[in-house]
Structures are given as structure tokens and as C-alpha cells.
Symmetry: C2
Subunit: 272 residues, 2 copies
């Protein structure tokens, strides 16, 4: 089959964090059909090697192709950092949108004079993808970065505010924001982190602008679909969810990230 | 090949937490050769379904069989809870030692009048394996349990003491230890947790006895090898390590759990 206007947008993440990107796409493009795959059996990707993440991402893309998708969103910073070239090669001519380039563009646009700080997973920090993407747009931009792995556990436990979340945020942000000159923008470089936005903003203070790539990824999806003449006039089909393990847990915890209830009956178990 | 005295003991965990069990076995049985497999590509197991954990555990056991092991230690509470019967069936007549039964026996022996509290991963708590194992030994024993997922992240980040670790411990232990009558024993039902022992003891207070299944699992390994006449008179071969992803990270973080340095050159990458 060849994808058409009514074909769904495929969205892929290691787990549930990418649902923050799905939520942004739903707000911006309410007429699009969406199919989301969370590789919950093998999460987290953030501590894995780039080779392993690439292999897993290609398998996930293969599973989404069976839904005749018209565009793939890699709603995972770690997978965007490691696997975007391999995914584009495998899926061509199907467009593939990652979250790193939109996040970098949003950061440069929000604080053009910089400096920019980035918090992300270990894997994303190690690969330096945000530093490269930001400096591709603004070569002299100072960028500092640090991993914030406990944010993932806090987000998944719904522990998004209160003294523990604030203490963890202070631990990660303190050294990063104490660099001189002080960063004016802070990229939330993991799709789990937007649910901690209020706590991160409180700890970072009012002079630091938070940049969440979910919104700008949704803008990029709209641009690409417009370019290709593939925007769906609607009405959309109901969203579909796929998980590689524990679909009940996916439906339950996914609400934290999607910001609306997920019908457990709409979550199918798939093996990659 | 048939295993003999010089054959290694195989030790398996989802990641690095099982190294606390390996450390206990090394202290108790310094003449034994040990080969450790951490399924770092697919950790954590604690949030996965029992079926998926069982499938992964059987694959890991298969990889260790290639080293002609004489006994398998399942140094992971989640895998012990989900996969022990399937592993025993696959490996028979090779003995398989899990960590749940030794932990339950140690708890009943330490606080025979109870009550006993258990902290573990989501998967171990959901399956109720500790409750069953404790009540198999002491049918009227009151047991309360709760998941403590953030402890895994704290342990892996080496954040084992200080205000964040104490606040997280208070969050998990408070409701559990406030049950009436107050628990007198606390089982650390995840092999990640012993590295947080000092913080957990401080928060639990002096009237609560901590039970760590690593030591009692090592005692059980010694008993089984003695029964079978398979104790190695020594000297032992150097320990071997296998990881399914990121062997460098395994060597680096593994030190926290093993309590001694791991030579990165001794960690081999395996695919399951």
C-alpha cells in the first residue's frame, strides 16, 4: 500500500515519554490519525549503546510500517540522537521527524544570544547530538549539558513535584546553571522531562527559558505534511497504541505523559 | 561436557545489582570460579511482565550454559520470582539457586515473631513471591510489602546517602513501617538495594532488622555444592563478566555493587 491523506502518523518512543510529543501533535493536528509504539519491554534506551538503540529503532519502525504510516516521528531523544540517519535510509522516501533538530531550533530561536544548557539521558549527552544540532544553527553558541537520569524514574512514578523532585532538580541544575556566563535557555532533552516542567522551572528560576521539543516537533510534522500535501482533512480514526510489554501498565502510566486517559483496550501487545 | 569441581558458578541478573550477590559468594567461597551475566540491554526487569522476564531469563541461562557452569544463581529477585520453575525445568539436573527463598528464610529466622516488611521492584511485589515464600515457612506471619522503584536509579547513580536518598527512603518506608503492629524485619527484596543499606537503616530506625538475601543466597550456594560434592578446592580462575550492552558502563558502575574494581577488559559483550 502507498500511504495517503488518511494514513496515520507513526510515533515511536522507548516507552511512554514520547506521549508528550503525541499530545502536542494531537493539539496541533487534531484531524490526524496516530499510531504510537512504546518499546516498553526494552526501555530505557538512555543507558544503552548507540548500536543497540539503532537496532531497536529499526525494528520499531518496521512494526509501524505495517500500519501504512505516512510519516514517522521519533519521539525519543536518545533514538533521534543515535538512529535518525539509519531510520531515514530504511524508510525513504517516507519522511522521518526526530525531536533533536526541532529542539535545537527552538532553543536558538528562544535565546539567540545563549548560552544554552541541555539536560538529557546519558546516551543523548554522550553522543553530543544537541551540541552539534545547536551549533549547526549557531556555530559560536556556548552549550553546556548534563545527564539527568533520575528524572525518568520520578516522571514514571508520577513524583513530579514536591521536595524530592525539587532536590533532584537542584542536584542536576545547580552545577549546570552555575556555569559562567549563566545559561539563559534550558533544553528538556528527554521526552520524559516535560511532566517535571513546573518543578524544573521553579528550581531554574525566572531568568531561564525552558525549551520543550514536543511543541516544535509538532510544528515540524505539520510543515512536512503540508509540503507533501498529506494533511488529513479529517475526521481522524481513533488513536492506536502498541507496547512491547505490559500494555496495562502502559495505559495506566501513559496518562501521566499524554495528559488524558488511555483506554487499556486500545493498547495492543506487539513483539519486535 | 559435564560440569566438574573446577567448573564455574554462573550468576545472572538483569543488570549490575546481582553483583552484590556475587560479592557475597566471593567472600564465602573464595576458591570458586565465577561467571556473571548482566542483561544490561534489557534491564530493568522489575517493570516487565512475568512472561517477558521468564523468556529473558531462559535466554540468559542458555548463554551461561556455554561456560559449562555447575550451578546457576539467579541473583535477581524479579527473575527469581517469575522464572525459577522454568529455569529449573530447563537446566535439570543442574541446581538453580534463587534469592527469594534464602531471603524469606533469613527473614523468618531473624524476626520469628514478625511482622515482616518487604521492599522490592514492582514485578516482585505484584507476584507476591516474598509473601508466599515467607508464609510457606511461617504460615501465620504478617507480611506487608511495597515497591521502591526509585531506589534502583539512586543506586545506579551512586546516590546512596544524603538528603535525596533519605527523602526517597522515608517516602517508601514511612507508610510500610507505620502499619500496626510495626514490622520488626525489613527484607531488601531487590539486589540493587544493599548499596543503600546505611540510608535505609537510618530511616527505618534501630528497632527494624534489615534482611539482605545476598548473604543467605551465598550460604545456600555453599550448601548445595557441598551436597553435590562440587566445592572447588581452588585455586579459582579469574572471574568473568558478560553484559548484553555497554560493557564499559558495566565495568564502571559495577564497582558500586561488587565493592571492588572490575577490569573493563574482563567484561565481554554477548547477544542473547
Amino acid at each position: 500500500m502507498t500511504p495517503d491523506l488518511n494514513s496515520p502518523i507513526g510515533i515511536f518512543d522507548s516507552g511512554m515519554g514520547g506521549l508528550t510529543v503525541m499530545a502536542a501533535i494531537r493539539r496541533r493536528l487534531p484531524d490526524e490519525a496516530l499510531v504510537y509504539l512504546g518499546d516498553t519491554a526494552r526501555l530505557p534506551y538512555g543507558t544503552k549503546s548507540a548500536d543497540t538503540v539503532t537496532r531497536y529503532a529499526l525494528q520499531a519502525a518496521g512494526a509501524l510500517l505495517r500500519f501504512d504510516i505516512k510519516l514517522l516521528v521519533v519521539a525519543c531523544n536518545t533514538a533521534s540522537a543515535a538512529a535518525l540517519p539509519a531510520l531515514r535510509e530504511m524508510l525513504a522516501p517516507l519522511p522521518v521527524v526526530g525531536v533533536i533538530e526541532p529542539g535545537a531550533a527552538a532553543a536558538v530561536s528562544a535565546v539567540p544570544a545563549g548560552p544554552i544548557a541541555v539536560i538529557a539521558t546519558e546516551g543523548t549527552v554522550r553522543g553530543g547530538a544537541y551540541v552539534q544540532a545547536i551549533q549547526a544553527l549557531s556555530p559560536a553558541m556556548p552549550v553546556v549539558q548534563a545527564p539527568a537520569p533520575l528524572f525518568v524514574g520520578l516522571a514514571e512514578e508520577g513524583l513530579t513535584g514536591g521536595p524530592i523532585a525539587e532536590a533532584v532538580a537542584a542536584r542536576y541544575l545547580g552545577p549546570l546553571l552555575d556555569t559562567v556566563p549563566r545559561p539563559r535557555g534550558l533544553v528538556l532533552g528527554c521526552t520524559h522531562f516535560p511532566v517535571l516542567k513546573d518543578t524544573i522551572a521553579k528550581v531554574a528560576g525566572p531568568d531561564v527559558t525552558l525549551i520543550d521539543s514536543a511543541e516544535t516537533a509538532a510544528v515540524r510534522v505539520e510543515e512536512v505534511l503540508k509540503e507533501k500535501g498529506l494533511l488529513n482533512p479529517g475526521p481522524p480514526a481513533a488513536p492506536k497504541f502498541l507496547a512491547t510489554d505490559a500494555p496495562g501498565r502502559f495505559a495506566h502510566l501513559g496518562e501521566i505523559f499524554l495528559g488524558e486517559p488511555i483506554d487499556p483496550g486500545a493498547v495492543a501487545l506487539v513483539d519486535l
